[in-house]
Symmetry: none
Subunit: 125 residues, 4 copies
DNA sequence: GTGGTCTAGACCACA
DNA sequence: GTGGTCTAGACCACT
């Protein structure tokens, strides 16, 4: 299904969340689809079931999946092909934003970049 | 000089790093400038000197300051007001911006994120 | 695993770094291998866990190991038996050798230095 | 006379020692020459006289200079043009030697390099 | 006085 | 159990 980067500092449970979102962005997982059982996925990835369970709990909290006892976990409408990619893009944008702030780029500069981007982008269509 | 947010999940030593980078990016600290002594800053911020020392070590590893025993710590050229790091941050921001545009995030959403970021981050005062 | 020379002027944390590098260069530790936990090693060596943690952080900065919370620390590819670092060390040695020759240091003197170095350093046992 | 690198981690007093040895290697300072007074040199270099005094003490301990109260410090025969360069070369060689040891280069390899170097080098003459 | 090293504790998130 | 962060002390070499 996907791989865990054990060398990464990003918690495994978070990598699982991101990967499921990515699979949804790619259209591999669609709303209503059943995702693998906790134990199955844990075995596949070679990690502790508790860790997988934690990521499912996290995804459920965010409203991206819902779990039914005894049946499994399912993708919700909130994690459709387009919304998933959008979520990742927004996350990346947030990170870049904070980074820019730290290096003293001022707000106006950033807003100008946004406006340039949107102007250029919209005229292409 | 700046304030530490003890309620934040971001480690104190990292907050110190970020704040020094911000001060340099804002032009308050210039290359060659001496930054306050470990113990002095620790007292000012109301934290343990070891924590301050840790952030100085971190900044030194990143090449932003250099420390000399018996003399103090100094800002390097790498941390000038218009450093390469700043340009990189702007570039990354541009990329994230385009990506967000491609995935249909609208302009207002992005501007809101910027405003949230700058609100939370601007504790330099 | 190895011994710390408490009488040495070389910081303990640096001795740990060096010893791990030596073990890896000797092929005892291979890329992917897990190194002992901070607390375990600290107990074995009879030192404070913080000191061990510091050396692990240092090794991680140099790219020789990577640490993951909850899992442990692992040797990276950069620290393989025939790593680039080793080749670099050999190159540096060659340069120093030629330089010594140019300044009239005689062969016996150099060989004596080598023997002194290897005598002091070979506490891997 | 020479410059101090304040950004370097090498203690200033040691930089002074090395620089005086270098000047002797270059033939600028010859045995019997008087080296500048502690206070003069301190002012020139922009450092504390205590630091200069310490390096002079160090050089005197190594037998490279001798100081006469009220008259100044003088280069000894031990620091002649050739011997000085040799000392530096030996120091560099020692460092390279330790480094090679750390990366698991074995003694025989190093000795082979030395022999190759001396073979190649002596036939050039 | 400066930063660097080390110890002996504590609490946290993650697995 | 793992590593990461933080505090409160101490001693050291260097300026």
């Amino acid at each position: 299904m996907f791989q865990i980067d054990f060398a990464s500092r990003i918690p495994i449970y978070e990598q699982i969340c991101t990967n499921i979102i990515k699979l949804a962005s790619a259209g591999v997982l669609k709303p209503g689809d059943r995702i693998p059982a906790v134990r199955t996925l844990a075995t596949q990835l070679g990690i502790n079931p508790n860790t997988v369970a934690k990521s499912f709990r996290e995804l459920e909290n965010r409203g991206y999946i819902y779990s039914v006892v005894g049946r499994g976990s399912y993708i919700t409408e909130a994690l459709s092909e387009n919304s998933a990619a959008k979520l990742l893009a927004v996350d990346e944008f947030k990170g870049a934003c904070e980074n820019a702030l730290n290096f003293g780029v001022n707000k106006e500069e950033l807003i100008k970049i946004i406006e340039d981007t949107f102007e250029g982008g919209e005229s292409i269509d």
